[in-house]
Symmetry: none
């Protein structure tokens, strides 16, 4: 089922979707890249949508698993948040294309029944993060005068947006980015 050929095609498609956007990438673009004719792609997939579905669901499955593991480790809120941030940044490299598609074509894909699961996953994730932040506030670790959900969204957006300018092998690896981000997030840029 998940033959090597098929996976190869998915990877090619993912790269193109990331570069040009889902809509702007034609089935023919993908086929050209693979050196076959566009009609031949339909031996492997039943639609263009099913390709992007495969790309996105693969990513979401993995990030959800990572997040759950971080939560289930049962550490303190500060450590859990750090683990979540690191887990997110860790996907930047292996799932660069998927994240890019998610960011760029979100508003288009969200509108489709087929991708309702994306919104559901998002909600679940929001609850994990915001819950952890609120826990930290109750324990007196995080300031009480910030809004947990708002803060989560800002963190989330910042991380995923990094995919737009992050280039592998440019000195800044995802681990460094994660630590940098944690620093600012926990303590701000001010010197006290």
């Amino acid at each position: 089922m998940a033959s090597e050929r098929r996976e190869h095609l998915v990877r090619l498609a993912a790269e193109l979707f990331a570069q040009k956007g889902f809509q702007a990438t034609t089935v023919r673009n993908i086929a050209d890249e693979a050196g076959i004719l566009s009609g031949s792609l339909y031996h492997h997939f039943d639609s263009k949508e099913s390709i992007v579905d495969e790309i996105l669901s693969g990513f979401f499955d993995e990030i959800m698993a990572s997040y759950r593991a971080a939560i289930d480790r049962g550490q303190g809120p500060r450590e859990t948040i750090a683990a979540l941030v690191r887990a997110a940044f860790d996907t930047l490299e292996p799932h660069r294309a998927a994240i890019t598609v998610m960011q760029n074509d979100w508003s288009y894909l969200r509108g489709m029944e087929r991708f309702a699961y994306l919104t559901k996953a998002e909600d679940e994730i929001e609850e994990m993060w915001a819950g952890t932040i609120r826990q930290g506030q109750r324990q007196g670790l995080f300031r009480a005068d910030i809004d947990a959900t708002l803060t989560y969204r800002m963190v989330r957006d910042t991380i995923w947006m990094a995919v737009r300018w992050y280039r592998p092998g440019s000195g800044l690896d995802p681990k460094t980015l994660a630590e940098h981000y944690l620093k600012v997030m926990f303590d701000g840029i001010n010197i006290h």
Copy 2:
């Protein structure tokens, strides 16, 4: 030049582009919204691109002016950064559609010669922000162990992404968001 009719059409188009994306919005969608035939739009604009151009350049012109004013006020780095953050959040409401388009269709539009000016403006803006941060570091106001450019990008992304979930009249107005963001940015979420 900018007749009332024309401006009205631009506003309608902006709203649709923001809702469905530039590519997914058809010229007919816009015309329908305006109650005219699609061909009639070409009495006012040369092309679909020229409409989005008008939307984006209007936004960029204004934000650049605000940023320059904040810089030129010649206050300290902390006040200047705060002013920049507030200026950005202040555009959230009047330019919601333009910002959404910029965020969602960036990768598509960037590829086009016509929109090269967007990248140029972005570079100029990056220099304003990062320069101010570096100034603050030299003056011992901001931590030396953060990367100015990286920090700017994170801030920028966070602000513009707000457009994806921000809904006017939902209690959280842009001013509140700006102050919230400044708090986290300057001092972090930790309690020291």
Copy 3:
């Protein structure tokens, strides 16, 4: 009726039709050239076709008159043919645009009911020329082994086609062209 303004517009249109072809010239091209809006042209003409009609019928009226005068002068066949050739070349300058349109858009315009008169005029003209040639053959002035109609057509095509490369003020004026052509036509390029 034939106001100066109107004639001016016809001249502008003729020039454009000659340059780009009737179909490729838009009503807006003409209006632009005149410095007005395309709709305003309809104050002067009821259609694009009526403009080209005016251009062509003006030319045909004149050439028919010239030809008839040449025939009616009642000279010998050789002089009459020379007079016809000269009459044709004489229109090259004043009716350059009309001739160009006739040549380039002939096949398109011929298909239209409105321009049936063009074909009728052509037939009448063919009869004048071919008749004169045949007369010359009967009088032993022209070779008997050439086809009168065929010869006429070759002459006609050659003359009108000159409009494609003839440029006023390039040394070769229409009178010179006519004499050159008559030389070749009467005696050939051989030296006997």
Copy 4:
């Protein structure tokens, strides 16, 4: 590359372009003639232009080869000119459609970058013919008081224009036309 299907479509298109003109022929006309939908044509060709390109370049390639062969045979100027005239008339039947398009849509096509090669080929051809005429003048075979280029143009125009009225199977075949034309061209219509 040049599949049978494709060649068939090109032939259909050529016929239509010849009948109605390039601009007046719609892509749908061609598709209708072929019994397919207009969009399906784009499986075979990139554009309407590329179809006419194929038609014209096919013709030009062949005529250039014929002309070069006539020149390279190294005969005297009189024989060479006769060979050129015959070569041209010989294309009348097999390339009737292409020649018609070239004649009728010349001014439109010439304006396009893509068809710059047409003008270049024309220049090369002019040089072949005019060169041969001049050679004949130097050898005392052709009259010195005619302009070589001018004469070439008149001959060329006459030959190609024949396509407008020539109908295969009407008694006058291209070979007869060629001999008729050579007679007039070499010796004129006068009896000396």
